[in-house]
Amino acid sequence: MQKPEREKRSVAARRPKLWRQLLMFFSVIGPGIITANADNDVGGIQTYSIAGAQFGYSMLWLLIPVTVALIVTQEMCARMGAVTGKGLADLIRENFGVRVTAIVLLLFVLSDLGNTAAEFAGIAFASPIFAQYLPFLNKFVLVPLAAVFVFTMVTRGNYRIVEKVFFAFCVVYLAYVASGFLVHPPWHEILLQTILPHFVPTQAYILTAIGVIGTTISPWMQFYIQSSVVEKGIRIKEYPYSRIDVITGAVITDVIAFFIVVACGATIYAHNAHLAPGGRPLSVSTAGDVATALAPLAGKYASLLFAFGLLNAAIFTASILPLSTAYYVCEAFGFQSGVENRFSQAPVFYSFYAALIVIGGGIVLVASDALQNVIIFYSQVLNGVLLPLVLVLMLLLVNNKRIMGKYTNNLAFNVIAWATVVIVGGLTFISTVQLIVGGSSGP
């Protein structure tokens, strides 16, 4: 048969290898970076800023081991997602049964409720600063506005646009980096403090250190990165790029944490440390206090940037946390889920999600400050209980040959991972016990 003339085939198959690789890289990044940045939520920012304000640069050394631990735990979940194509909640259900899943998810939901409240509280904290410029922006305006924005963007938005919006959120975190530079900190000293571990054995220091660890590695992140990897359809072939994404994300999140600590250390801590006798030290117990405290010390721009970063973090995390919680619960227990459904098609999912946002925001608007702190405090306690449990389950799953085939942890990885579990788990356990027993105002 006479061969017809061929249309020149467009692009794809003929691209050189490097192009393909870059393309694959860009199509794969996202989960790691978004997850890691969502890690810097209001609770996180609060913890880091208090660490800096109360202890100066003496906690910076923690960030390096914590980053390593974060990378290890995130990587395991991303790998599980790429190999099995299933989310963490699904794997837990299939391998450990309904009861274990129910317990894990119950703790998850309760702690998420507290977290959501904390995010909205962050908006409330930041509002006085904005109110200085636009007086009507008090918390009763900003919190409901944020709640509505979060709900509609997520439920009506197109994922591609939403992912881009999330990336934009991530960029705004750089405001903290700017803040950190604006305060002109002593870089030489900072470098030393970061590299040399030193330990101040006071209870306050230990508790804050545990807070720093606990807020960086949160159980929620393990679930989220795994389901993100599954949703993007990342398979084990593309996985190496995903790994880079995870590492980049973890590094970025801790770099931002670094700058927050630095910004507060160079201003508030330094101010307090160099007080003349009889001078009143600046006391900071919330992120809002920090933002306010920055103004006289470092200028109104540092303060504004900080507050803006806080608002950004709050809205960003409030968009992700409750939605994914509703999603895992529905998936694990067989309720229809997903924002592409109409309300009538997935009533449990939508009601759950709406309830989380409404209750979270409501707590901030209605409850007294004391009650809010109690709620947020207990959600962190729950986090502390949940984290070691989830880590252990993860390790059992990731080392299971039946599930992971040849992609189980190698020995080195297992050593690091189990050490992380023991240390992190042990510390969070101790801190949880202490917090409950002592009832002290931890970070």
Binding site: M1, Q2, K3, P4, E5, R6, E7, R9, S10, A12, A13, R14, R20, V83, T84, G85, K86, G87, D90, R93, E94, G97, V98, R99, T101, A102, V154, G157, N158, Y159, R160, V162, S227, S228, V230, E231, G233, R235, K237, L323, S324, Y327, E331, F333, G334, S337, G338, V339, E340, N341, Q345, R402, I403
Partner: protein, 440 residues
């Protein structure tokens, strides 16, 4: 199942596995009952039966888990299970039989009747036909609550919740474990009752590993049919998981335009690997089709059509069509070609059926041919089809040589704008189903 007046426990008639697991197991000899353990699991040797019977009970004893053949069962009631003699069998670790708790609880299955993927919360068993049989899978909230122990606390509440049960003959299990022959045939047989697009919906909802396993368990034709309805990224992911030979077998069975689309999206070396495994004729056809860009007539066309020589009789042609129709995608127009494959004319099946059996084709064919070039854009092809009210449009080169046809369904698919409805996580696969449901 409350006790009767005489305090005789009511024997088990039907109920749920979650209620049975954990019940005490006794051995009764000479009127003396001794506790030996608790019910741990149930074994089914022939899961391919419609309502398979339970063949053995796994009892958790202080010596470990031992199996008791069902024949040893004397009685079963709320107090417990009584055996004739103590369980002694140790089942092998790679046992091929189906274990209800270990293999089915919390695992995903396909509801063949509802055409969805579900997760088993509980399993209903009943004494019927002289045996204890697996009757249904409970996928609802009631099953969930029962598993969480709510039955002991609030049995009335559970009774009030509407049951969500799937009859066992509509259940196609999917397992994590490497599938045994028995399970494969169960899955394959039940899944093949589904229409290919429904099968594709289900495959699209599974995790990548499970999807590949399910496709792997189907026969080539069913797999190919389902494949044609899958999204390209799902297709690629499954092709990656199947061996080259199996993938090639399936692609061979697919309609050539869909096969060419799939191949076109793969990297060149993979394309060649797969083409090398196919039979020469198919491989050649596909190689040609792959060369065309997706949104042109060449990219949309299929080489699966009916062609005849002009000197043929109507009678002979009808006989030929009867022969090849089962295998041919499009039979409603016949294309008349000469020896050099030049397109001479077209006639519809209707014209053929209404003509005199002894007439020759060239007297009844329509020589006013509407055709397009391979480079014609998809929109223009669709426009031509619409303008001339065609079911398919032939594609010819500039010498009038027949290259293929573009069917109206493919033309429509190509011009409907792709809806930007990719929403947040996990929705793209479900979105397919939503769209399909919305369309019906």
């Amino acid at each position: 199942m409350t006790a009767t007046r005489t305090n005789e426990p009511v024997p088990f008639h039907d109920g749920f596995v979650s209620e049975l697991v954990g019940r005490s197991v006794f051995v009764e000899r000479d009127g003396v009952r001794g506790l030996v353990g608790r019910i741990a699991d149930f074994v089914v040797e022939r899961p391919q039966d419609t309502f398979p019977h339970i063949d053995a009970i796994i009892v958790k004893t202080k010596h470990g888990e031992l199996a008791a053949p069902i024949g040893d069962l004397t009685s079963l009631d709320p107090a417990g299970l009584v055996l004739k003699k103590a369980p002694t069998v140790v089942r092998p670790p790679d046992d091929e039989a189906l274990y209800l708790v270990e293999d089915l609880f919390d695992k995903q299955i396909v509801d063949v009747d509802g055409r969805k993927v579900e997760r088993i919360n509980d399993i209903q068993v009943a004494r019927t036909g002289g045996a204890l049989r697996v009757v249904a899978a409970d996928i609802g909230v009631a099953g969930l609550l029962r598993r969480l122990g709510a039955a002991k606390v609030a049995p009335a509440l559970i009774e009030r919740i509407p049951r969500a049960l799937i009859a066992w003959d509509n259940v196609a299990p999917l397992h994590d474990l490497s599938p045994t022959q028995i399970r494969l045939s169960v899955t394959e047989h039940r899944l093949s009752r589904l229409h290919p697009s429904e099968l594709a919906d289900i495959i699209g909802e599974l995790s990548a590993q499970d999807a590949a396993r399910v496709v792997g368990s189907l026969d080539d034709e069913t797999a190919a049919d389902a494949f044609e309805h899958l999204e390209p990224d799902v297709q690629r992911s499954i092709i990656d998981d199947l061996g080259t030979e199996r993938a090639a077998d399936i692609i061979e069975e697919m309609d050539s335009d869909d096969a060419a689309d799939l191949l076109g999206d793969l990297p060149e070396d993979r394309q060649n690997e797969l083409l090398a495994e196919m039979d020469a004729q198919t491989a050649d056809d596909l190689r040609e089709l792959v060369a065309y860009a997706d949104d042109t007539a060449g990219g949309l066309m299929t080489t699966d059509y009916v062609w005849i020589f002009p000197h043929r009789t109507v009678e002979g042609t009808i006989a030929k069509i009867r022969q090849i129709a089962p295998e041919t995608e499009f039979i409603y127009y016949l294309y008349v070609l000469d020896q050099a494959e030049k397109l001479l004319g077209v006639l519809s099946l209707r014209t053929l059926l209404l003509a005199e059996p002894s007439a020759t084709i060239h007297t009844i064919m329509d020589q006013n041919i509407v055709s397009v070039r391979p480079g014609t854009s998809a929109e223009d092809v669709a426009g031509t089809i619409a303008r001339y009210d065609l079911l398919a449009c032939p594609v010819t080169d500039e010498h009038g040589m027949m290259l293929g046809i573009v069917t109206v369904d493919d033309a429509i698919d190509a011009i409907i704008p792709e809806r930007l409805t990719k929403k947040l996580p996990r929705f793209t696969k479900r979105a397919q189903r939503r769209r399909a449901e919305a369309a019906t």
